[in-house]
């Protein structure tokens, strides 16, 4: 059933929706992409950008709504169908074989063969060179992929997608970890691609980048489409306001914690070559310190160094006058620290094990003797389940079956049972629903009231503005600024990030 399609629209969605357990990740979105345009999709972490890409490329099936590619309507896309109809998607991660040459990577699964069915390397390299030449790219087609820089690998990945002659190219955070010069190189390529008539759907959270290449910009927030603008009708301030949606997000109010006058945690010049330049700061008991900055700024690296997951080359950490520089997580834990990692599924939880084991395994060292003490364990876990309001069938439920918010609470319970003084939270509310977010904010606030020290790393600026009494901003693996008191606002933090970007570029 083909319907009347407005001229020049190559891809369209209507009422597209997708839910995950506990979260409405993508809600009733109408969207269209015109021939030859660069259409950028922006939004914060968790706004629904990745879900959108996966729905368009057929990795996820929508619960409701449909996708039109050209005149054809799909309610169930598969990756194969999406590609057959001219959609190519390039994901953030490099998906190339490191030990193969550029030419081999470009033609994986599509090798150029001679009369005997053997691979014709000469011809394949010639075609690879032609392909790269089309976009004025000078990359040695015989070079192994691992010899290339990251940006060159990304380019090879994009050219590989283009070799399938798509009508639509979807790029997911293509510039995530590149320098300014590399970003310019990549953006030029994107513009060249659109000039050749391919429609580009460009997903990014770099606002400046988006403003420099977009024909149109669609803004997502919490799974909803909140705006679609032509480039010339929007300013950077307008776009930021739309992305943040300040008025709608003011659902949490900072409570006034009593912050101690003297700082008790001192981080002095902690650094590791190739990972983090010297970072120093101090925090007082009862203080919630936010750590902001773009992806690749070194926020997670700072947390890993503080917690002993990486060994610092220089610098020291002291708490209440005692040096606690950690070389292993075990040392950090014993000096009263805990780390809620960025990805609980990778290094926070035992997904296939029951809840109670997940809660207690980090605190086994606290009791004397070789025995677990199953009865005390059970009652402790049950009381933590009640205290944190973890929704589960009982303490033996397998953690992988819980919702994201409840899983995060299990990680919190794990650390609570260790009674630490210093809490480092790395993206504490990623992938969890609004209700659970509020509960976690309340817990953070309660910890601060108890005089604990909290470091909150987050890309969610409203979250930082709502929770933190002070925010430090990182960029290019160093500390670049600080906001305190009434200056701690979403716009304030964002301005600092953008400004410092500009300075770094001119420096």
């Amino acid at each position: 059933m083909t319907e009347e399609v407005p001229a020049g629209i190559v891809l369209r969605t209507e009422g597209l929706s997708k839910s995950f357990p506990g979260v409405r990740a993508f809600d009733n979105v109408d969207f269209d992409l015109r021939a030859g345009e660069i259409h950028c999709v922006v939004g914060e972490n968790g706004a629904g950008k990745s879900t959108f890409i996966k729905l368009l490329s057929g990795v996820l099936t929508p619960d409701d709504g449909a996708v039109w590619i050209g005149p054809v309507r799909f309610s169930h896309l598969t990756p194969r169908l999406s590609q057959q109809h001219g959609v190519q998607t390039v994901y953030q991660e490099i998906e190339l074989a490191p030990s193969l040459s550029v030419a081999e990577n470009l033609f994986i699964g599509n090798e150029v063969t001679g009369p005997l069915g053997l691979i014709d390397y000469g011809e394949m390299e010639r075609r690879a060179r032609d392909l790269l030449g089309e976009f004025d790219l000078s990359i040695d087609v015989k070079a192994r992929n691992r010899q290339l820089s990251l940006v060159e690998q990304e380019i090879v990945q994009i050219v590989k997608a283009l070799s399938k002659r798509p009508k639509i190219l979807i790029l997911d955070e293509a510039t995530a970890s590149f320098s300014r010069k590399e970003i310019t190189r990549l953006l030029n390529l994107v513009q060249e691609i659109s000039r050749k008539g391919v429609s580009v759907l460009y997903i990014s959270h770099h606002i400046e980048e988006v403003l420099s290449i977009a024909d149109r910009i669609t803004v997502l927030r919490d799974g909803h489409k909140v705006g679609c603008f032509r480039r010339e009708e929007i300013t950077i301030e307008g776009l930021i306001a739309c992305i943040l949606g300040t008025e709608a997000r003011a659902f949490y109010r900072k409570s006034a914690h009593r912050i101690a006058n003297d700082a008790s945690l001192h981080v002095k010049g902690i650094a590791k070559d190739g990972m983090l330049h010297e970072v120093s700061f101090s925090v007082s008991a009862g203080e919630v310190l936010g750590i902001a900055g773009p992806i690749g700024a070194g926020k997670t690296e700072l947390a890993r160094l503080l917690f002993g997951l990486e060994k610092p080359d220089r610098g020291s950490v002291s708490y209440r006058g005692v040096e606690i520089t950690a070389h292993t997580p075990s040392q950090a834990i014993r000096s009263g620290m805990c780390l809620l990692t960025e990805n609980r599924r990778i290094d926070g939880l035992l997904l296939r094990r029951p809840l109670f084991e997940n809660v207690t395994f980090a605190g086994l060292w606290r009791t004397l003797g070789p025995f677990l003490g199953l009865r005390t364990e059970r009652s402790r876990v049950r009381s933590l389940i009640g205290q944190l309001d973890i929704k589960c069938t009982d303490h033996t439920q397998v953690v992988g079956k819980l919702s994201g918010g409840n899983q995060q609470k299990v990680v919190l319970a794990k650390w609570f049972s260790n009674a630490p003084d210093i809490y480092i939270f790395d993206e504490p509310t990623v992938g969890i629903d609004v209700g659970a977010k509020q509960e976690i904010y309340a817990l953070i606030s309660a910890l601060a009231d108890q005089g604990k020290i909290l470091l909150i790393i987050s890309s969610d600026l409203p979250e930082l503005a709502a929770l933190c009494s002070r925010v430090i901003v990182m960029k290019d693996r160093r500390l670049v600024g600080e906001l305190a008191g009434t200056d701690v606002t979403e716009a304030g933090i964002l301005r600092l990030i953008i400004e410092e970007k500009g300075e770094a570029a001119t420096a």
């Binding site: 290094d347 035992l350 296939r352 070789p370 079956k401």
Partner: protein, 315 residues
Amino acid sequence: MTRSLALRGLLRNQTFILFLTLVAFIIIVSSLSSHFLTLSNLLNVLQQIAVVGIITVGMTVVILSGGLDISVGTVISLSASVTAVMIGNGASVAVAVIAGFAIAVVSQVVNGVIISLTKCIPIIITLGTMSIYQGFALLVTGGYTHNLQGAFQFLGRSDVLYIPVPVLVLVAVNILVFLLLKYLKFGRRVYVLGANENAAFVSGINIIGNKILVYTVHGVTAGIAAMVLVSRVGSAIAVMGTGYELRSIAAAVIGGVSIMGGEGTILGAFLGVVLLGLISNALNILNVPSSFQNVALGVVIVLAVIISTMGSKRK
């Protein structure tokens, strides 16, 4: 409602499926042969599976922790050979047994130290040490059969209260390690390591120390198994342990121990051993040629892996 849920949970439990399979198997075979379901035959089966059953206990701990060991067969050979050669050369039984047992423990501690310090893949490391221990076994025996000349019969050839000692040892080892996994912090850490080593590290668990301890436990059970084996056979050759590594891994997997680590129980692994023992016993009684027994063993392993994979996918 709750009862049907409980029933469905039970049907997804591989230990329970295995138990049903065992019961069905026993009913079918006993209707084919009146020899099968007799007390003497069942004791016979238990005696036959004693050695592999003891090894499987240690192997299960290793697999639960996310490891694997394919050198254990040659560790058994080396350990049994040392004891037999020493007894043959006039050493006292006690000294020879302690030495053989210690060799097994040391061999596995070496495995554990290399695996935990280098963070290399256990299957490759133990492929290497398998060859090393086999070489030592050949050196120790010089390629000959070494007879115990009637000494050291207690562990393999005697009964206590009509029950063969190997069977008692088998049961004791299973119960001890079951208790260790359930009630000791170390046991919990075994599961944690296998379920998510990254999370274990972030949560301050001593990865290296616990891994070495895991292989030490494995060495202790391997040493006990080697002593039972050499005592029962009454002599040792350099290849007498060959094949135990694969049979113990197979038994654990059939018993529902996840080859990825972090999931499984001692009881399940024990039932896996019993099922393998009953199958080969039944095929013997029914006069099925031994080459076909290998085929049957293979079919059971493949089926068990398919069932357990389907079960975990459904989760």
